[in-house]
């Protein structure tokens, strides 16, 4: 679905933000992209929809080289929700904000209405339908930008720091949404520093450092590699730490608190 072939990208000011990235994401995969600030995660994401073109190397999305395809047509397939909501909200009302992309892609009026209703419901924004997106709270703005992207049902969904400013309930809901996308067969890429949020989703984890991919594998494996995590300044999920501290333990780390609790209760009985 998405393929990076030896991609290097140098910013105008000479900063090398990507340094020989080779990465393949298959359709239907759920990938978490982690790594310290400035590792190049956002730069990588911008390459997927052709907002940035590789200095050297190639990016292939759904069989098309991004150098030969427009961002608008790539975006129909790949929806990217960027880090900062203040960089995109501009409409009179939340409703209109959501329909912007749908109109750009030429959806029919009924379909636009249907998708807007669906998105507002999913992200609990129904009551703000008529209010200005600019007066929403930080967390609500963020959620609106996610709704705006999911509204046009792209095959690939990329979320850059989706949990920033979200309370615990909203985070849980968001994790639920990501799992829902996964079962709908979507390809999902989540960029996040929030390891505790990512862990229960059990994605494939790609670790970046100084523009390079330094680790790649299932969450359960990558998250146990302490040297790797330390070098990329990524925290280890608490459940993994707990698991590794146990003298007697199950075959793999606990996926969530419930999982851990069940195991302990099981042992108490014995």
């Amino acid at each position: 679905m998405i393929e990076f072939q030896g991609v290097t990208f140098v910013h105008q000011n000479g900063v090398k933000a990507l340094d020989g990235v080779t990465l393949k994401v298959e359709a239907g995969e759920t990938v978490a992209l982690v790594g310290e600030n400035g590792a190049g995660k956002t730069t990588l994401v911008k390459h997927v929809t052709g907002l940035l073109k590789p200095t050297t190397g190639k990016v292939i999305v759904d069989g098309h080289d991004t150098k030969q395809t427009s961002t608008a047509s790539l975006s129909r397939k790949v929806g990217v929700a960027f880090q900062n909501p203040d960089h995109q909200l501009f409409s009179e009302s939340v409703e209109e904000e959501m329909s912007f992309a749908l109109r750009n892609f030429g959806f029919s009026p009924e379909l636009v209405r249907k998708r807007v209703d669906w998105g507002l419901g999913l992200f609990g924004l129904d009551e703000y339908r008529k209010s200005s997106p600019l007066v929403l709270s930080g967390g609500e703005k963020k959620r609106l930008t996610l709704a705006c992207i999911l509204a046009w049902d792209p095959d690939v969904v990329i979320l850059d720091e989706p949990t920033v400013g979200q309370d615990s309930i909203q985070k849980e809901k968001l994790a639920g949404t990501i799992k829902m996308l996964r079962s709908a067969g979507k390809t999902v890429v989540v960029v996040s520093h929030d390891i505790e949020f990512l862990w229960p989703i059990q994605p494939r984890v790609v670790v970046m450092k100084s523009g390079r991919v330094v680790g790649d594998g299932p969450a359960a494996l990558v998250m146990q590699d302490e040297t790797l995590l330390a070098s990329a300044r990524v925290a280890q999920p608490q459940l993994v730490e707990l698991y590794r501290g146990l003298s007697e333990r199950p075959p793999g780390p606990f996926v969530d608190a419930l999982d851990a609790r069940r195991w302990f209760e099981e042992r108490m009985k014995r």
Binding site: L51, R76, H87, Q88, F90, F100, N104, F105, C148, I149
Partner: protein, 248 residues
């Protein structure tokens, strides 16, 4: 946008010119600016531009200045066309058009080699009110930030299917709305937040806050300043009294 960022935004540099006292850099740019206004023929103007290019070379910003010249020349084309239509005088039209480029370059040379901090010091030596200095320097400092913002906003909207380069001129102007609104809103919000953050860090609490930087002109600074003045006077003298005057 490109023009503004290339021509007026300071980027750190390490040439002897960058290290000059900012007041000397201001003097040099001011002299070059005045020279472009004093010249009366295209050839004299070329001499002034040659000096600017030399300064740019010393400051290792030739490439940027070159780009600024090319971009400014596109504006100049208008000046040239308007002049030639109204005056029907080729030489004076060329002079006005090229003079505009020279004026931009002389100003640009000061801004791209002087950091906002130095700018602040220069303004302080003129004893301008502190709030005025602060407002001006902050504005200068935020230009690059706004440009980064613009790129980010354009990226976000393009990802939502906005096509900026499509359609006729009216369509294109309308396409800018999703970019301009977040840009303006962000700037307004940011300035409000900046003011609050400054006040919560006691801006304006005492009339004379501590100043950490004291500029003292070195010998080099003085020599360079004198040399610049001498060159200016010599140039003006020879153009006016020695060389044949070519009125446009």
């Amino acid at each position: 946008m490109m023009w503004l960022s290339g021509g007026f935004v300071f980027r750190r540099g390490d040439s002897p010119y960058h290290r000059l006292d900012p007041r000397v850099k201001l003097l040099i740019s001011a002299l070059m600016f005045v020279s472009t206004l004093l010249v009366r023929s295209f050839y004299e103007l070329l001499a002034v531009i040659a000096v600017m290019v030399a300064v740019a070379a010393v400051a290792t910003v030739l490439k940027r200045v070159g780009r600024t010249m090319v971009l400014t020349a596109t504006f100049s084309a208008f000046i040239f066309v308007i002049n030639i239509v109204f005056t029907r005088n080729l030489e004076s039209s060329v002079l006005y058009a090229v003079r505009f480029v020279a004026i931009v370059v002389s100003t640009s040379l000061f801004f791209i080699t002087t950091s906002p901090d130095e700018l602040e010091q220069v303004m302080k030596t003129f004893r301008l009110p502190r709030d005025v200095v602060f407002a001006f320097v902050t504005a200068v400092r935020f230009i690059p930030v706004m440009m980064l913002d613009t790129i980010q906003i354009m990226d976000a909207q393009k990802s939502r299917g906005l096509e900026l380069e499509k359609g006729n001129i009216f369509r294109r102007v309308r396409n800018m709305i999703p970019v301009l609104i977040p840009l303006v809103v962000n700037s307004v919000v940011r300035s409000g937040e900046l003011a609050e953050a400054m006040e919560s860090r006691a801006y304006g609490a005492v009339p004379r806050p501590t100043s950490l930087v004291q500029y003292k002109s070195s010998v080099t600074d003085k020599v360079v300043a004198l040399a610049a003045l001498a060159l200016f006077i010599a140039g003006a003298y020879s153009f006016y009294y020695i060389l044949p005057v070519q009125l446009p």
